[in-house]
Structure formats: structure tokens, C-alpha cells
Amino acid sequence: MKLPDLTELAVRNLRESLLRNSLTTIGISVGVASLVAMLSLGIGLQQLASRRLMKSGLFDTVVVSSRRDLRNFGHEEERNGPAPGESRILDESTRGEIEHLPNVLEAYPDIRFITELRYEDRPHLTMVAALPESAKSNDAFEALQGHFFSSNHAPEVVIQKTFAEELLGKTTKPGLDETSAAELAIPLLGKELVMRYAQREAPKTASSNTSSSSVAVPDDQSLSGAAYSVISREQKLKIVGVADLDPESMRGPTRARVFLPLGLAESLHVMQPTDLREISRAATDQPVYSSISVRVKNPSQIRPIEDSIKKMGFNTFSILDATRSLQQFFAVLDLFLGIFGSLALAVASIGIVNTLVMAILERRREIGIMKAIGASDSDVQKLFFAEAGAMGILGGIVGVVLGWAIGQAINLATNIYLKRQSLPPEHFWAVPLWLVGAAIVFAFVVSLLSGLYPAGRAARLDPVQALRYE
């Protein structure tokens, strides 16, 4: 029998015992809904975790450092690649080169220095770091009091909560409630900080500086013009934001508490530790960076990009392995959720077997008639398979819709709860397209497997016995 005829007959037969077949199909739907609900919770949580981690900027970033920087990671490369003394430096041209690699979103220098900031004539010493505009989407700035930098060159700063406490002279003692960022922001937003820093300047402009110390290099062939001045400068900065969370919590001792726009930081030519190391090599007004952060489109592209950068002669570092263990954890979680979700579908599959066995009993004579007028065993078998499959597909579709609706309801309820707790809304539930397709296919396959025994039994019916049946 042809497939369209088979389907038509199967649907007709299912309509004949509408109530019983509907109940069986509802059973499958509940099974699929439970499976979809469980898996979409797992997927949703995984996506939530990935989103959070992505926003942290740690998992889509490769930190590139020169092999000349002997403090850095990846000492094994030093043995394999060119000797540190002969390897390339990280400057504007290499930054451009890296930025043009495929799947690279941006490459920005890591400008970071310890300096003094004066607030109401009191000095505060801290680490200052430059942030690109893309950092605005960083998770740590989600609950930012005030706003992010108005432009990449604005003389503005965002300060971390602990630094705000220091500025206001409030130190949190252990065990006591912390002051909220919102409270700290009120007296600080719009106020001015004065940053003192050491500017590195090329020789031709050095004479105009107020106080300067020159680093001179012997004027020989290889290092002609290799000299620059270090000038003490001051920059007024407006506090525009107070960050509740620590955007650099993973950086350990080098984490900054005050953040500048990257464009501004670059234009200030702040003296970097690498400037001293590179003095023996070249001293131009072109900056040399200690490290460059490379943001990629997707964490999965980190490995090939790291390889490309290593081939260029640099050391790289990323926290890719952490995402791998995360993926492993969620794979196990999904597996367990899937198993629990499948239990209901397993129960539903017993319902299919029961319904079809009942149908064989009821339609015994009909099977006999079909065989008498020329139906083969495989025709009868296929017909029962088609009935099981039709219930599976229909149950699968209804189940996916039901599972999706359950997810939406729980999402809504959770977000109402989060809102009452003054927390930002979240998506815990995700029903990706592949899950929709896979759930329907799974329901179909489970139904076919359930139909295996009844279909075989129907096919083996003796037509003479079946025709005698009343």
C-alpha cells in the first residue's frame, strides 16, 4: 500500500475510536510536554549561564602578550618559537593585524597602571584600567549606577563600589551590611577626580613640559632617535558611574577599581611598564602594549584564533577550558532531565500498546476481511504502524506546544517573583527549534516502537479465524 493511502486509512481508523485514541494521544502529549519542559529548563539554564559568562567578557576573549614579556603565560612557547629577544613587539600594527583575523570582533590594548587619584584633595592610590565601548554590555555594568562613558574619549570615569566607599571614607566591616551602590552613587556622581599620571612623550615635544625626566639612549645606528620623556601630568575626570559588581574579579591582584574610556586612555600616553622594557629596542612616540585583549564572535572560535595569533609569534591565554567543563556539566544535567522527562513518555508508550492491542481485538474481523480481499501481512502491519505513528506525531506536536506553554508560564511566574525581589528579569526557559523537531521525531519513534508488537500481532492474524470472529 502506498504511503498516502496508508496515512489516510490510519487517520480514518483513529477517528473511528475518537475518545480512546484522543486519550492515548493526550498521554503522549503529556509525555512529550514533560520531556520538552525538562530539557528546555536544562537548555535555558545553560544559555543563562553562558550568557552570564559571555557578558563577563572572560570566555570570548584571548589575551595576547609579547614573548618579550617574560612574566607572562605560556613559557613553553618560548622554547618552541623565536627567542624572546628576537620576537615581535605588540604595537599598533600588530593590533591591526590581529583585528583583521576572521571572527575577531575587536582587539584593544590592555592599558593599566597604578596611579594617584585625588578626590576632595585627598590622594587615593589604585589601579586604573581602560575599557573599550563594548564593555558596556559587560555583566558587571548591568546594575551600574549613573551611566557608562558618554564617548570613547570623554574625560569620565566609572568607579567600582569598593573605591567609592574609599572615596567617601566608608569601609565595610566584615559581617555588616554593605552600603548599596545606589547610596554610594548619590554623593559621587558628577563629582570630579584628578588623576596624576606619568606621560610618555616623544623627544620633539618634550621641551614644552612642565616637569620632565628624559630617558636618553646613546645615539648610534641601530637606535637613532630612541629617546622619550616622561612627564608628570594631571587629568580631570568626572565620575559618571558606580559599578556594583567587580568587572575584573577574575584578574586577582592586577584588577582595577577605576575605569577610563579606552580612547581617552590611549590619547593620554600613560607610561606603561613595557615602555621601560622596550627602551633598549626602540623608543618612538608609538605606544607599545604589554598585552592586547582580543574579543571573538563565539567562544568556539577561540582555539583557531589563538593558533593564528601564536603563529604570528605571540603568547596567548584564554579561559576556554572553563567553558568546556561547564558544557560537560550541562550535558550531564540535560541527560538526567531528559531521562526524567522521558519517563512520562515511556508510560504513554504503554498506553499506545494498550490502545492498539484493543484495536486489534475490536477490528479482528476487519483485519480478516482485508486479508481476504488481498491485504498482505505487511499491509496490515504498516497500517497499525501508521496508526501508532500518527498518534505519535500528533501527540508530539501537541506535547511541544504544551511544553512550551508550561515553560512560558514558569518563566512568567519566575519573573514576577524576581521583580518583587527587585532583581532583573531572566529567561530560564528556552525551547530551541532543534528541540521542537527532536521531540516530535522522538515521540514518533517511541510510538513506532510501541506499535511494533501490536502491528506484528495484527499481521500474523489467521484470516479464517479472524473472519469467524463476531
Binding site: 493511502d5 476487519e366 476481511i369 486479508k371 480481499i373 491485504a375 499491509d379 473472519l467
Partner: protein, 262 residues
């Protein structure tokens, strides 16, 4: 009509080609310790185009013989050869193909599928034969029109009289143009007028299409009226085989139904 009980097992006329050839046909059933010999050592030959009636009381084995010829059952021993095919040697799938293309069956209780309309019932064998939908529908329509049921095509069997149901069953039996029509008590559930109507149709198919007919009945009068040959069974054995002189020469008929089906 003369009784020839002593010449119980004989062959069809030598001039005709054998449509059915049964040799030492046996079908035994086991019920606990007892062995029931439903068909016991039957030798039978039916010529192509012959109209044969199998007669006997209940339990004589006539329906069992019919089932063996129909390929619905397999013999315990012996053989049934239908149009040169030994049914005992066919696989289950081959037997299904045989039932689909070579045999048409009509039953006492009509055996239409209750959930289907008449048109769908008639179409059903063509679905198994994988006939294309358009052709299937037009053939079913024609077949039902020829048995006078064109107005009842979309009706379900339960909405029809017994005679109408049996006419629909005839249309279904003939839809794949079989060479052999097997009828198991086709008038058993019908009044005499409707029974005559159905039997006239069956005879027309026999005479006009040259279709071989084997009809099981326990009504001798009905058999004598339509069948060219009467075969008697008792306790699974063939106990009589008579020709019907009134019909064996090939009595004429109006032939309206068969003429259209040709």
C-alpha cells in the same frame, strides 16, 4: 437431475482448461486431543469458466474447501493448484497477491468494512494493489453503478439493506477483475427475491466474463438453478459430483450487468 453418488470424484470436462485442481486435499484441525478432519482426501477439478456449487450440511467441510481454494488457509496435506499455481508452495506474501489479483470473495455476512463508505469499501482492494487514486475512484464509481448503487456511494454499509450490501460486496469482489469468484453462502442472509437478484448477477459474470465460480450453499434448489455442477461434501469427504444438464449446455441470459463490466 440424476444423482451420481458413486462417481463422487471425477474430473471436469476434458475439453476445458482446469482452473482448480485439488489432489488428496486434507485440512485437519487439532482441538485438544481430538483431530477434526474438516477436509479429508478430496480430489477435485474445476474447469475455467465453470459454475460449481459445493453442497453439504453444516460441518461438512464445504467452507473449509473454499478457504483452501481462496488461499486463506493452507492444506495439512495434498495440493490445490489454481491456474497452474500450487497454493501450498506460495509464501504468505504471494498468497496475499493471489487473493488480490486472482480471487474475488463474497460472504454470507457481506463483510463490508463498517467504518467505510461503499465507494471506499469497493476501492479497498485497489489500494492494496496500489492503483492510482484517480483511476481507483472512477473504477469504483463504475462498478457501483453497474450493481445499481450509484446513488449509495457515500453511504455506510449500516445504512443499506442486505441486498444492497451484497451487491456492493460483489462490486468489491470483482473490482480487480479476478479469474475466480468464490461465494460462501451469498444468499444466506437475504430474502428469496433479493437472493435471486444477486444470483442472477453472479450467473451473468460467469456467462459473460467466463469467470469461474465456486459457490458454497446448503440450498440444493438454489444450486440446481444456477450451477452447472453440484459437488456434495459430508464429513470432509467428497461424496457426490453431479452435472446440471439444464445448465451445462450454457443457457442464455440477458447479460446486462456482465456486459457492462467487461
Amino acid at each position: 437431475m440424476s444423482s451420481t453418488a458413486n462417481s463422487a470424484q471425477r474430473s471436469a470436462p476434458a475439453t476445458a482448461t482446469a482452473a482448480i485442481h485439488a489432489t488428496k486435499l486434507c485440512r485437519y484441525y487439532r482441538m485438544g486431543e481430538t483431530v477434526i478432519r474438516a477436509v479429508n482426501d478430496v480430489n477435485l477439478e474445476v474447469a475455467t469458466g465453470e459454475f460449481v456449487a459445493l453442497l453439504g450440511s453444516s460441518g461438512s467441510g464445504k467452507s473449509s474447501v473454499l478457504n483452501l481454494i481462496a488461499g486463506l488457509d493452507r492444506p495439512t496435506s495434498g495440493s490445490v493448484v489454481v491456474h497452474d499455481r500450487d497454493l501450498a508452495k506460495l509464501s504468505r506474501e504471494e498468497l496475499a497477491g493471489y487473493r488480490l489479483h486472482t480471487v474475488g470473495m463474497v460472504f454470507q455476512s457481506f463483510n463490508l468494512i463498517a467504518s467505510m463508505t461503499l465507494a471506499e469499501n469497493v476501492e479497498l482492494p485497489m489500494r492494496f494493489a496500489e492503483v492510482e487514486r484517480g483511476k481507483r475512484e472512477s473504477l469504483a464509481r463504475e462498478a457501483l453503478a453497474r450493481v445499481g448503487l450509484q446513488a449509495r456511494m457515500s453511504h455506510r454499509p449500516s445504512e443499506l439493506s442486505g441486498g444492497e450490501q451484497q451487491r456492493a460486496a460483489l462490486a468489491r469482489a470483482l473490482i480487480n477483475r479476478p479469474r475466480l469468484l468464490l461465494a460462501d453462502e451469498p444468499t444466506g442472509n437475504l430474502d428469496s427475491h433479493t437472493g435471486t437478484e444477486i444470483m442472477n448477477m453472479v450467473r451473468e459474470f460467469n456467462l459473460q466474463l467466463g469467470m469461474t465460480i465456486v459457490m458454497v450453499t446448503h440450498e440444493r434448489a438454489l444450486a440446481e438453478r444456477y450451477a452447472q455442477r453440484l459437488i456434495f461434501l459430508a464429513d470432509g469427504k467428497l461424496v457426490g459430483d453431479e452435472t446440471n444438464p439444464a445448465l451445462v449446455a450454457g443457457a442464455g441470459t440477458d447479460g446486462s450487468v456482465a456486459g457492462e463490466l467487461r
